[in-house]
């Protein structure tokens, strides 16, 4: 393929994915971002660094994660064969650790002694606290007050791991406010502190760097699915909050034009209600958290509150590369509401004995819909980005059960 036709040579030198991405932060952060960019560009070419990263991913995380043919689910559903990329089997239970391992090793090489992170569902916070514990780094995790309440188990896990969890009570008290607060911490502490962003958003180089650490998902999957089925899949499906598990799966397939790509946003109580978290499906381009991308905003440009049953998708922005993939038409973005996600959660649990995270349940739900419209010899590869243990309380509460 001509290099100019490739979807894999973004971002440009300024961190732009077409009109999206970039660096929209106060001057106080520019130097820190340049230092980070320098380190990222250097170490992603450094054989020692990459060998250490690979070894950790293999021996500590448990990679490669398997691909599983959900035969019973596929048969009951009818249509295409559904395969699951099992990121739920990673250490700490989700794809998040692929990135935190990478960024923490980078922090160590840069001589930083303190790690900060933001978290929504708590999965990224747990994955950050985990690697900080292992490397002996001080760790502070910012988490919205609302999320602290609905993800108690993960808060306790982070504290067990030695992290300090700081509850954020400003704004909507969720992920976006935790991110604001982490940025504020970083502005004042850049000398010794590394900020591990958990998704493919934020100012350059974060969207590119997090994608590069998560792309192991797609690289493995591209090989595994061909080994198992003899060809590339017909479609990829992954949930999109900030979009890190999705871009991790999609990126190595972007130039395989015969592979259809679907990102699944959270429709919450329904796109028509306005109570959702689907900026790509129902938002407008704007600037938030250091990058230009699709946002949930009002007509004055204020960021509005999002709604989703899954804390990990409850974010008003989305990674800029997804914004670009949407506009170019290379990927399709769709939305699944709370009820559909819950139904898929139960269905996968009962038919395959796999309890998915509520985030991943959105991808399962759309994968099932899509597969039903396809032929039995076709393949839909769904990213099972995390396991549902953390969601036991949420699901039980909906059913009126107290655990």
């Amino acid at each position: 393929m001509d290099k100019n036709d490739s979807f894999m040579n973004m971002p440009d030198d300024k961190g732009h994915f077409g009109p999206y991405g970039g660096i929209f932060v106060a001057e106080t952060l520019m130097e820190a971002l340049q230092e980070l960019r320098g380190a990222y560009e250097k170490y992603l070419q450094d054989a020692d660094f990459l060998a250490e990263l690979d070894a950790d991913l293999q021996h500590y995380v448990g990679r490669p994660s398997p691909i599983y043919h959900a035969e019973r689910l596929s048969r009951e559903n009818g249509g295409a064969q559904i395969y699951l990329k099992r990121e739920d089997l990673n250490h700490t239970g989700a794809h998040k650790v692929n990135n935190t391992i990478g960024q923490a090793l980078l922090a160590k090489r840069m001589g930083k002694t303190r790690i900060i992170a933001e978290t929504g569902a708590g999965q990224h916070g747990v994955a950050t606290a985990t690697v900080a514990a292992r490397l002996g780094l001080e760790c502070v995790v910012y988490m919205g007050e609302v999320d602290v309440a609905r993800q108690e188990a993960n808060v306790y896990r982070m504290r067990l791991l030695g992290a300090e969890v700081r509850s954020v009570s400003s704004g909507s008290k969720t992920l976006k406010d935790a991110l604001n607060e982490a940025m504020r911490d970083w502005v004042a502490t850049v000398d010794d502190t590394f900020y591990i962003i958990g998704t493919v958003a934020g100012p350059h180089p974060y969207p590119a760097m997090v994608r590069d650490f998560q792309a192991i998902i797609g690289r493995e999957a591209r090989q595994q699915i061909q080994d198992m089925t003899g060809h590339l899949p017909d479609a990829l499906v992954a949930c999109v909050g900030g979009g890190s598990n999705a871009i991790g799966l999609f990126y190595p397939f972007l130039d395989d034009k015969e592979v259809a790509i679907y990102g699944v946003e959270a429709a919450g109580e329904g796109l028509e209600t306005g109570r959702h978290a689907a900026p790509l499906c129902a938002g407008e381009p704007g600037v938030l958290h250091g990058n230009r991308t699709y946002l949930m905003e009002d007509r004055d440009g204020q960021i509005i509150e999002t709604h989703s049953i899954s804390a990990g998708l409850d974010y008003p922005g989305v990674g800029p590369e997804h914004a670009w993939l949407k506009d170019t038409g290379r990927a399709n973005y769709v939305a699944i509401d709370d009820q559909e996600a819950l139904a898929a959660f139960h269905r996968l649990t009962r038919t395959e004995g796999i309890i998915p995270a509520l985030e991943s349940s959105h991808a399962i739900a759309y994968g099932l819909k899509l597969a039903a419209t396809m032929k039995p010899d076709q393949v839909v590869l769904v990213n099972l980005s995390g396991r549902g243990d953390k969601d036991m309380h949420t699901v039980a509460a909906i059913e009126g059960i107290e655990i």
Partner: protein, 276 residues
């Protein structure tokens, strides 16, 4: 010459530093903002920075974030803020006003529409905190087309190459963020600020304002000896917050602090100007 340049030229001729108060428009209620602007001018303000409320003020500390939240409770929009400046201008044709805020509300309005409406209302410049020079080209152009100044921040971490880029992008004055951290932080070290201002002066002749961490008259006086403008924000906004439930007292509170600062700055100016 722009109103901002004129004002700095006049102050320089007098050997005085500018006192630049910041308040968030619409905090605690949109009805009182214009009155507060006049009060601040009466108390000795030379230029006013008017904060445009934003839901996610990432570079601000908790004091100014809460000011945004109070204003947004009344749905104060960028358009409303421009309207406040228009009303202010009817009675004050001279005091420069700059809008300080974040890009997204401007992005939604459109750069050209924003610049046109702001200029027509009598706004003199804009400081969009989250737009570094690298991303600023189109916005700066739109502002310049309407004769507005694009104010830029410089930080303790900005090295020479960045300072040159900032000096190229900025007009009006450069706002030096005097410490690492968000607005309202502590620990300002005068010698460090003086050293950095000298570095900035090596790349530009533009007036230099200093802000972030200036809490009282003594600090304002110290800064007035080394900078062309002293920006005070969180200290004022804290007083607004403390009196949010009795808004008729806010004007007097702000005037008191500004008068103390003005007096101390002018005394310090006379001391350093007198032969020793």
């Amino acid at each position: 010459m722009s109103r901002i340049a004129e004002r700095f030229a006049a102050l320089k001729a007098d050997g005085r530093a500018a006192l630049v108060p910041f308040i968030t428009a619409g905090d605690p209620h949109p009805n009182i903002t214009v009155g507060l602007m006049h009060d601040m001018v009466e108390a000795g303000a030379d230029l006013i920075e008017l904060g445009v409320p934003f839901s996610d003020p990432m570079a601000d500390g908790p004091v100014i974030q809460r000011a945004s939240e109070r204003a947004l409770a009344h749905h104060v929009s960028l358009d409303d803020v421009i309207g406040m400046v228009k009303t202010f201008r009817q009675d004050d044709p001279d005091t420069p006003v700059i809008l300080m805020g974040y890009l997204n509300p401007v992005e939604v309005m459109g750069y050209a529409a924003f610049a046109r409406r702001a200029a027509q209302a009598g706004v003199d410049g804009a400081l969009t905190v989250d737009v570094p020079p690298e991303e600023g080209h189109d916005l700066i152009q739109a502002l310049r087309d309407e004769g507005l100044d694009a104010i830029y921040l410089a930080a303790p971490t900005s090295h020479r190459q960045r300072l040159e880029m900032i000096a190229d992008a900025a007009t009006g004055f450069i706002y030096y963020v005097s410490l690492k951290g968000v607005t309202g932080s502590a620990n300002l070290v005068l010698d460090d600020v003086a050293k950095k201002l000298a570095e900035i002066r090596a790349v530009t002749d533009m007036p230099l304002g200093v802000g972030f961490g200036i809490k009282d008259a003594a600090m304002a006086a110290d800064m007035a000896k080394i900078a062309d403008a002293v920006v005070v924000g969180s200290a004022l906004v804290s007083r607004v917050e403390a009196n949010a439930s009795k808004p008729d007292k806010i004007g007097a509170e702000l005037k008191q602090l500004l008068q103390e600062m003005r007096q101390a700055m002018d005394d310090a100016g006379r001391e350093s100007a007198s032969p020793s």
